[in-house]
């Protein structure tokens, strides 16, 4: 299985995602440059955390126009697995691959914290290895992670079982305590918490590794 990790010039969790896949999960991963047009032979794509193009404008607003995102959009439309973490989640909503928006945290401050999440659904290629209702510890680190959407979208997300992770103790004001959501096709997940930071026993939690394990399981099933 080969994971492609997209590198924008301001990505800074790209290496962490690569490490989690290669060293903690034990699969292959390669970096994909933001200015390239192809995803190579990646079986799944990770949009990592960071500040894609500095994000002085709106997080992810410029990344949306990058060349690689055309390829990611195509890949997602064809059913390919795309995981957006933190800045990756922000880029996915900017591109319209996921609904809603991510705005400044309720407290207007950047927050780096180990938080608890409830796994709301295991019916996805990103969460099949969890138990439904399981409480997991995966850290957050963001300034703009407050998830908002109009009431109809929220209703849709809930009705279609597309909320994968919810904060147990909401740190940023996200509506419905949303920490991670799926697209309608269930092949794109955006989440603010960082599963790659909870993949190594040394980092205090390995709950995040289950996200990557779920993806690997889904990919091997598809083969």
């Amino acid at each position: 299985m080969k994971f492609g990790v997209v590198v924008f010039p301001g990505s800074n969790c790209d290496h962490d995602a690569w490490w989690a896949v290669t060293h903690n999960l034990g699969h292959e991963a390669e970096f994909l440059w933001h200015d390239d047009e192809s995803l190579g032979n990646a079986d799944a794509v990770i949009l990592p955390g960071g500040f894609s193009y500095g994000d002085y404008l709106r997080c992810g607003a410029i990344a949306k126009f990058s060349r690689i995102m055309r390829a990611v959009e195509r890949f997602a439309r064809e059913g390919g697995l795309v995981l957006g973490i933190c800045n990756g989640f922000q880029i996915l909503v900017e591109c319209g691959l996921l609904p809603g928006a991510l705005i400044r945290n309720r407290g207007l401050k950047f927050i780096c914290r180990q938080v608890e999440l409830r796994v709301e659904t295991t019916q996805s290629p990103f969460s099949s290895e969890f138990r439904k209702g399981q409480i997991v510890r995966i850290p957050i680190a963001h300034g703009e992670g407050c998830y908002v959407a109009d009431p109809r979208t929220l209703e849709e997300l809930e009705a279609e079982d597309r909320v994968v992770f919810r904060y147990v103790d909401n740190p940023n004001g996200s509506l419905n305590d949303i920490a991670g959501i799926l697209n309608a096709g269930r092949n794109v997940l955006g989440m603010m918490p960082h599963p790659e930071r909870a993949s190594d026993p040394l980092m205090g939690s390995t709950d995040g590794l289950l996200v990557f394990r779920s993806m690997a399981a889904a990919l091997s099933l598809a083969r």
Partner: protein, 736 residues
């Protein structure tokens, strides 16, 4: 052509004697541009003219040191063919004038120092000092400065992608008009890929990369070399503006360019910008550098040579590239969307020659500029202090209430509000982050780990600079040892007032000597650092505040934390109860917070005993015998035990001491570590081997902290009644 008048010379903060020296070096009067160049290079900030003589007293060599002072950062051997480059630097003056950008560019500057060595930064720590947040007059401003500094550090470090993993934050009235912002950074580099700031190979092109040059920060280095007055706010334009995204691009592009082998030398443009980088690279390489300013990428039109040479615009680098391989390097910078322009070349004549549209505007021997700055043996008397030797009579009305007040005080309260704004986990190496005695970073390249801590104590140093500096080194080594690491090297940041005052100069010299003595004793040579003088506003100096950063080596293992982990473990005090007299008590947090006084002398330190305590705790931690470890420092034993309890598991202890209870609970004698264990005999055996005391104080208990002295109950607290005021104090204080 601007005429060089005595007034102009004085405005450049050069003395008449220094001006004479310039004329002698050049054999003629300087041009206006040359005067500007000399003024920044010979400023205190760049030349260390007041401290250089005394800095020579510091130990700089040791078995782990690959590069000592004199380069952009010190470098130590961490094994496995890898090295760590690290340094601490101050950004005090800019942070007072413009807290957010001042602190942000402080982070940017030290990060560039690290990756200039070829090292990828993996950790930042900050040592911060502010005026009290509740100060009747300066409180609102102090709160604004703290908020600005913290968000500036967060803004820069988070975006750049380096974790901010620890540090300290202290409040004293002497920092009202002069906050201290000291930033430490550490990076990892392969030993055969270390880069130096040298211009070698006559004819090789000198390449400018990164941000364009603007009019910002002109004379920043000179500003940092003067006291603050009422007019200092007008210096706001001297503070630069940071762009962490640009810095991130610069990091990636520089590291990639270094990989090609086409880069000969590299230097960042920090203080004194293009001036400093060109003349220092020439001086170190024993060569000259010639540049054409018209080729320098500029943000504004009509900039004069003077402005271009003195600009401190951020995120710029100067490279010397192997002739004929320019295109390889340019291609990489283009890939990262950065400007890279050949602006000149290395020459063999030892001169810094600056041309503007072909006309020579400055021609100065590089060595004279960089290394022949005046060195002053400034007169000194006895260290300045007004504090009395003896303090007031006092008796505690309620020891439990005193403990709670201490835990809710500025220096000791929970700093989570600060460090949660920092991404302390990015790069997934943070084994132990903020809030512990030392931070631990796993090094992926070697499989081993590094521990690091920052320490300083202005109160101790004010009472006795020599002893205070020794204690800071001892405490920092203890913090690193407490988590199980062997301290091997140090960096220092010396924050003092105006060295032209003999009583301030005396503080500086005493502190340097004390620090040198302790660093030599503990085997932690100083591999680099920074001196920040003129930390005075309207004639009031800060406490002498030497800050030391120490790096230790350890094997990678699950971290041992300060908090008690489970009930019914044995609580032990390694190093013993220590002792204290009424003069030594005057330096404590108890005297500061509960009595509102400062008197006497700092605690006594037996360095040999300290070293043995540290060796013992390292062995105890490595053997996996400790469930928790926490060193005793500010606030004394009672505060330490409370801090160990704040996770929920408290303790019940009986202290077999005969001193008065205030002393037993709150004295700050060094060489002590609280630990919890299931195997007290094994701990005792190791302690005995090193000849240090290991007292069993009691057992851990859920939810309560109870302390007795020879059976007599001193205090009995619910952990929650301690935790709540500790956890909420900083946020409450920030609300004003």
């Amino acid at each position: 052509m601007t005429a060089i008048t005595p007034e102009l010379v004085a405005a450049h903060q050069l003395t008449p004697e220094e001006y004479e020296r310039i004329v002698r070096i050049l054999g003629r009067p300087p041009t206006y541009t040359e005067l500007g160049i000399f003024s920044v290079m010979w400023s205190e900030h760049c030349s260390y003219k007041s401290s250089r003589l005394h800095l020579k007293k510091l130990p700089t060599q040791g078995p782990y040191v690959l590069q000592g002072p004199g380069e952009n950062a010190g470098v130590i051997d961490i094994g496995g063919g890898y090295a760590a480059a690290f340094k601490i630097e101050s950004h005090n003056h800019p942070s007072f004038i413009e807290p957010f950008q001042g602190a942000a560019t402080g982070v940017g500057g030290i990060l560039r120092d690290i990756f200039t060595m070829g090292a990828r930064p993996i950790a930042v720590m900050d040592s911060l000092r502010f005026g009290p947040l509740d100060h009747p007059r300066a409180g609102p401003r102090n709160r604004r400065i703290l908020e600005g500094v913290v968000s500036g550090i967060a803004h820069y470090g988070n975006c750049f992608g380096v974790p901010t993993v620890g540090g300290e934050c202290v409040f004293e009235s002497c920092y009202n008009g002069n906050p201290l912002v000291n930033v430490f950074a550490l990076g990892i580099v392969r030993q055969d890929r270390i880069f130096y700031a040298r211009a070698c190979g006559v004819g090789n092109p000198v390449v400018y990369v990164g941000a364009k040059t603007g009019r910002d920060g002109i004379h920043g280095a000179s500003m940092a070399s003067a006291e603050f007055t009422e007019e200092s706010k007008q210096k706001r334009p001297n503070v630069q503006v940071g762009d962490p995204f640009m810095e991130k691009l610069l990091l990636e592009a520089c590291l990639e360019a270094m990989e090609t082998g086409a880069v000969i030398g590299i230097q960042d443009m920090g203080a004194a910008g293009l001036t400093c980088s060109t003349c220092e690279m020439g001086s170190r390489g024993g060569t000259g550098v010639e540049i054409e300013l018209a080729r320098v990428p500029q943000r504004e039109v009509g900039m004069t040579p003077y402005e271009i040479m003195l600009s401190e615009s951020q995120e710029r680098m100067l490279l010397v590239v192997q002739r004929g391989r320019e295109e390889e390097v340019f291609r990489i910078f283009r890939k990262w969307g950065l400007d890279a322009v050949a602006v000149g070349e290395v020459t063999g004549d030892g001169l810094l020659r600056v041309k503007h549209h072909g006309e020579v505007v400055a021609e100065i021997p590089s060595r004279a500029l960089a290394d022949e700055a005046p060195v002053y043996d400034r007169p000194r008397t006895r260290p300045f202090r007004t504090a009395p030797l003896d303090g007031p009579d006092f008796e505690s009305a309620d020891l439990a209430r005193d403990l709670i007040r201490l835990l809710a005080s500025g220096d000791l309260c929970d700093k989570r509000w600060i460090w949660e704004q920092y991404d302390y986990m990015v790069r997934t190496n943070t084994v132990l982050g903020p809030g512990a005695d030392a931070a631990i970073l796993r090094v992926k390249e070697t499989g081993t780990s590094l521990a690091m801590a920052l320490d300083g104590n202005g109160r101790y140093c004010y009472l006795d600079p020599r002893q205070g500096a020794r204690l800071a080194v001892a405490e920092c080594c203890r913090n690193v040892s407490t988590v199980g690491a062997l301290p091997v090297a140090a960096t220092n940041c010396l924050n003092f007032g105006n060295p032209e005052r003999p009583e301030i100069m005396a503080q500086l010299v005493e502190a340097i000597e004390g620090m040198g003595e302790a660093c030599a004793f503990f085997g932690t040579p100083i591999t680099g650092g920074n001196v920040s003088l003129y930390n005075e506003t309207l004639g009031e100096a800060v406490y002498p505040t030497p800050v030391v950063g120490i790096v230790g080596l350890m094997r990678t293992q699950p971290p041992v934390r300060p908090a008690f982990q489970g009930e019914d473990a044995w609580v032990m005090l390694l190093g013993g109860l220590g002792s204290c007299d009424s003069r030594q008590f005057g330096a404590t947090q108890y005297a500061k917070v509960i009595l509102g006084e400062l008197w006497g002398v700092p605690p006594a330190l037996d360095m040999d005993y300290e070293r043995r305590v540290q060796a013992a705790v390292r062995e105890i931690v490595s053997a996996g015998l400790a469930e928790s470890t926490h060193d005793v420092s500010d606030g004394g034993l009672a505060v330490t035990l409370a801090e160990c309890s704040l996770g929920g598991i408290g303790a019940e202890v009986d202290l077999r001491a005969d001193d008065r209870p205030e002393f037993v609970l709150f004295h700050e004698g060094p060489s002590r570590i609280v630990l919890s264990t299931r195997q007290p005999e094994a701990v005792e055996r190791i302690a005995a081997k090193y000849g240090v005391e290991a007292l069993v104080l009691g057992r851990t208990r859920p939810g309560v902290l109870r302390m007795r002295q020879r059976g007599r109950l001193l205090l009995d607290c619910e952990v929650e009644s301690l935790r709540r005021p500790w956890a909420s104090a900083l946020e409450l204080a920030l609300r004003g």
